[in-house]
C-alpha cells in the first residue's frame, strides 16, 4: 500500500512537471529525427577527372553516379584548382587514382566506386569482349547483401544503437534527478520517519519512473520504425522488450548514482563518466578492431549488450532465443544496481 502511495505521488509530480515530460518524450524524437537527416543526406556529387581513360570505363564510371570530366593532361594542381574529388590516369598501361582527400569519407567513397567500376570493366571485357560493356553490366553484377539492401545507409545500422542509447540516457537522467530532488528537499529523510521500508522506496521509484520509461520506449520505438522508417526485420515486441530492460538498468543506475550526487549539477557530472563511455562500446565503432583490454571494458557496459541485441533484432531479424544472452546480461545489471540502491539508502536508516 505504501509503495502504491509513493508511486502515485511520483506520477502526480511528473505530470505537473511539463519540462521533464518534454525532455522524456519529445527530446529523443527530435534528436533521432535530426540524426536521420544528418546521416541520410544525399551523397555529394563526386567529381572525377580522367586522363587517357578507356571510353567504356568512363561510361561505367558515369553509371555509378560519378561526374566524369575529361582532361588531356592533369596533375595534383588540377585537382586543387578544379576542385576535383579525384583524378584517374592511365600511366604506362596502369591506372592511377589520385584523391583530393580533404574529406576522407568522400575520398573513401570515390575510391570504392572507382575500384568497383574498374573491376566491373575488367570483368565485362573478360566475359564478352565484343558486347558493349554497359549492357552487360546490369545483368552480370547481381550484388547480394547479407543484411539490409542496396539502399542501406549508415543510419540504418546506427539506428538500433541510437534508439537504445536515447532510452538509456533520458531514463538515467530523469530518474536520477527525480530521486535527487527527493534527497535535496529533505523529503527522503522525512520519509524515513514514517514506517516505509527502504525496499518499498526503491520499488516505488522503479515502478513510478518505470511507467514513464515504458511510455517513452514505446513512443521512441514506434516513431523510429513508422516515421523514420528504420530497418526493422525482427519483431517489434523484442525491440520493446530489450529497451524496457535497458530502461530498467538506466533507472536503477540513475537512482544509484544520484545517492553520490549532492546537486543536479553533480548528477550531470556523472554523464561523461557513466554515459558517454558507453557510446563507444555500443557498436557505433567496430569493436573487433579494439585492443583486447578495451573489448573487455565494453563487456561491463550495459549498452554493449543492449546494442548487440537491438542490432540483432532490428537489422538481422534475430529471434528471442538468439539474444537471450544479451537479455540475461541486462537483467544481471539491473539486479545488481537495484540491490546496491537498497544498500545506498542505508545511510538514511538501517531498516
Amino acid at each position: 500500500m505504501r509503495t502504491v502511495a509513493l508511486i502515485k505521488r511520483i506520477c502526480q509530480e511528473m505530470l505537473r512537471d511539463k519540462r521533464t515530460l518534454a525532455l522524456l518524450f519529445v527530446a529523443p524524437l527530435i534528436i533521432l529525427t535530426l540524426m536521420y537527416f544528418l546521416f541520410n543526406g544525399n551523397t555529394v556529387d563526386l567529381k572525377l577527372g580522367v586522363v587517357n581513360v578507356d571510353n567504356s570505363l568512363e561510361k561505367i564510371l558515369e553509371e555509378a553516379n560519378i561526374n566524369v570530366i575529361q582532361y588531356d593532361t592533369a596533375d595534383k594542381e588540377t585537382i586543387v584548382v578544379e576542385d576535383l574529388d579525384g583524378l584517374l590516369e592511365v600511366k604506362n598501361e596502369k591506372l592511377e587514382l589520385t584523391l583530393q582527400n580533404s574529406d576522407p569519407s568522400i575520398a573513401k567513397a570515390l575510391q570504392m566506386k572507382v575500384n568497383q567500376s574498374v573491376s566491373l570493366h575488367a570483368q565485362s571485357k573478360f566475359l564478352n569482349p565484343n558486347t558493349a560493356p554497359v549492357a552487360i553490366q546490369k545483368k552480370n553484377i547481381d550484388t547480394q547483401y547479407v543484411y539490409g539492401n542496396s539502399e542501406t545507409a549508415f543510419f540504418d545500422v546506427l539506428s538500433p544503437v541510437l534508439v537504445g542509447f536515447f532510452v538509456f540516457f533520458f531514463v538515467f537522467l530523469i530518474s536520477g534527478i527525480g530521486l535527487l530532488k527527493e534527497r535535496t528537499t529533505g523529503t527522503l529523510e522525512r520519509l524515513m520517519s514514517t514506517p516505509i521500508r527502504r525496499g518499498e522506496i526503491v520499488t516505488a521509484y522503479l515502478v513510478g519512473f518505470g511507467i514513464f520509461a515504458v511510455i517513452q520506449t514505446v513512443i521512441v520505438v514506434l516513431y523510429s520504425i513508422n516515421v523514420l522508417d528504420m530497418v526493422m526485420v525482427g519483431s517489434v515486441w523484442n525491440v520493446i522488450l530489450i529497451n524496457l530492460l535497458l530502461a530498467l538498468v538506466a533507472l536503477s543506475l540513475g537512482t544509484l548514482l544520484s545517492s553520490f550526487a549532492a546537486s543536479e549539477f553533480q548528477m550531470v557530472q556523472f554523464i561523461p563518466i557513466a554515459v558517454i563511455p558507453q557510446v563507444f562500446f555500443a557498436g557505433i565503432f567496430p569493436l573487433e578492431g579494439m585492443a583486447d583490454w578495451l573489448q573487455s571494458i565494453g563487456k561491463i557496459m550495459p549498452i554493449y549488450y543492449a546494442a548487440d541485441a537491438l542490432k540483432g533484432v532490428m537489422y538481422k531479424g534475430l529471434h528471442l532465443t538468439d539474444i537471450s544472452g544479451d537479455l540475461f546480461a541486462l537483467v544481471v545489471f539491473a539486479t545488481i544496481f537495484i540491490i546496491l540502491n537498497i544498500f545506498a539508502l542505508k545511510k538514511y536508516r538501517r531498516l
Binding site: E13, G186, S193, I196, R197
Partner: protein, 241 residues
C-alpha cells in the same frame, strides 16, 4: 511511572566532532518535554535518534519499551522536521493524503484526520493550492499537520513555531496542551523561544551535546533564583563555562 521514552548513555559524533555526549533522559507518558538550547547544541540530532532516523554511536534509546530504530513504532511517532520537507509541486491536500497513506489508516480515518489536522493549523481553505505558493509559515503549519496525521501517541516537534505568527502560535500551543491533557499524548518540543519553554512540564537545557540542567520550569527558576526564563538560560550556560 510509565515512561514513553528512555535515553540511556547516548553519544553521537559526526567525524571528530562530538555532537552528543552520554545523554541520559527519561520522558514520562503524558508530558510536554522541552529541549531548549542554542543553535548547534545537538537538539535536532537527539530528536532524530529518538525517531530512529539516525542511530547512536553508543547507548540505547527505547520508545514505548521498544528499542529504536523500530519501523512498527513509527506508527506511534509523529515527527515534524526542523526544515519543511514537503512536495512543492503537490497541493497541501495531496501532501497530507500522501503522508496519511504511509500509515495504517483506512479511507474514512484518512478523511477525518486530514480535516482535523488542516483545521487545527488553519489551512483548510488553502489546501487546494500548490505548496510552492505557500508562505514560510504556511509550510510550517502544513508540516505540523502532517506530524499529527496518523494520530500518534508521541509527537516530536523540532522548532514547530518558527515563522508562525503569535496568534496562531498560541492556538497551536493550546492544542498541544489539549492533546496532552485529553488524549494523554507525550510531546517533545525543541525551541529556543523561552516563553514556550515555560509552557512545558519539563525542560532540559542542551548545550554542546550535554544536558546542562533539567526540571520543571518552576524548579529551574527557583534553583537559579531568577524569575524569568531567559535568565535561567543565561545562568545555566555561564555556570558551565
Amino acid at each position: 511511572m510509565n515512561y514513553s521514552i528512555a535515553i540511556n548513555q547516548v553519544s553521537k559524533s559526526f567525524g571528530k566532532k562530538v555532537v552528543l555526549n552520554q545523554i541520559d533522559l527519561i520522558i514520562e507518558e503524558g508530558q510536554i518535554y522541552g529541549f531548549i538550547g542554542p543553535s548547534g547544541a545537538g537538539k535536532t540530532t537527539l530528536v532524530k535518534m529518538i525517531v530512529g532516523m539516525d542511530t547512536p554511536d553508543a547507548g540505547t534509546i527505547h520508545v514505548l519499551n521498544e528499542k529504536m530504530p523500530n519501523l512498527e513504532l513509527l506508527q506511534e511517532i509523529g515527527y515534524m522536521a526542523q526544515s519543511d520537507a514537503l512536495y512543492s509541486e503537490l497541493t497541501g491536500m495531496e501532501n497530507l493524503k500522501f503522508f496519511a497513506s504511509l500509515y495504517k489508516l483506512n479511507k474514512v480515518e484518512i478523511k477525518e484526520r486530514i480535516s482535523y489536522a488542516a483545521n487545527l493549523v488553519h489551512l483548510t481553505t488553502e489546501l487546494n493550492q500548490r505548496v510552492k505558493a505557500y508562505s514560510g509559515g504556511m509550510k510550517r503549519r502544513l508540516s505540523l499537520a502532517i506530524a499529527l496525521i496518523q494520530n500518534p501517541k508521541i509527537l516530536i516537534l523540532d522548532e514547530p513555531t518558527v515563522g508562525i505568527d503569535p496568534e496562531l502560535r498560541l492556538s497551536i500551543w493550546n492544542e498541544l496542551l489539549r492533546l496532552k491533557n485529553e488524549e494523554g499524548k507525550t510531546i517533545i518540543v525543541t525551541t529556543h523561544v523561552m516563553d514556550e519553554a515555560e509552557r512545558c512540564d519539563f525542560v532540559a537545557m542542551v548545550r554542546d551535546g550535554v544536558i546542562l540542567t533539567r526540571g520543571t520550569p518552576e524548579e529551574l527558576k527557583a534553583h537559579y533564583q531568577v524569575d524569568n526564563f531567559d535568565e535561567v538560560f543565561l545562568k545555566a550556560g555561564r555556570k558551565d563555562s
